[in-house]
Subunit: 160 residues, 2 copies
Amino acid sequence: MKLAFALLILAVSGSALATQRSGTDAVVAYPEGYRNWTHVKSGVIGPAHKSFAISGGFQHIYANAEGTAGYRSRVFPEGSIVAFDWLEMREEAGAFIEGPRRQVDVMVKDSKRFASTGGWGFQRFVKDTREHAAAPTPEQCFACHNNLKKDGLILSNYRP
Amino acid sequence: MKLAFALLILAVSGSALATQRSGTDAVVAYPEGYRNWTHVKSGVIGPAHKSFAISGGFQHIYANAEGTAGYRSRVFPEGSIVAFDWLEMREEAGAFIEGPRRQVDVMVKDSKRFASTGGWGFQRFVKDTREHAAAPTPEQCFACHNNLKKDGLILSNYRP
């Protein structure tokens, strides 16, 4: 009976978590219009990189007005949103040209909604869709950022 | 006497042109704040490219609000400004990382002021300065764009 009760508790907890996850409170919205936000910096994973097959191409980072202020002060205000845009690439005579979108990774600063992940919500969107990627999960995103962090969960710096 | 007169005409014309060039009317201003404009697209000149030594690295294109509207309609309104940002790069384990600025090339749409170069003013600025590059001159910029043009003097397309 004790085991059955514990399992019931787990089932209820799991259900409550699932409800929270699918509710509006804990969901990171697609960053509509981010292509008009400030371009923070870029990088390229080239053909000689060990991760080229799965991650090769352009990486562009964009921030909304609050996020851009945060990049300057390194104190990111509530409402900061950062979009990390992954594009495939093709090579033409030694020049690299942008290709189709792989995914868009988003971070949203909301200390209340995302208290359990350092005040930031995380979400990866598949290609050009509004669909959530199966992996990494928001929890996996947070764990890695939290492990790598130097002065916060935003790992990049603004390139003037 | 005829030769002397012709030389005098040339000298006066040259002087008039020089005055026009250095006056505010025919000068393209540095695009202050362009790093907060819309990021149009990017490319990279990689190490295997024939022009790597002088042009290698990242190329980012930015447009102000008028220019961004122009990229969408391909009819660029008066006041459109496009900044073409050249950065050196360095390679780390197959990843390309942004380096120092090479130059900023600017195009400004003003059909009246720049009537002699297709309605667009051209200017290259040296590295992170407001200094005009010795070459290419605005006339050289125009000649090449005018030769390459397909549907206008702006050669790039917006990458969604």
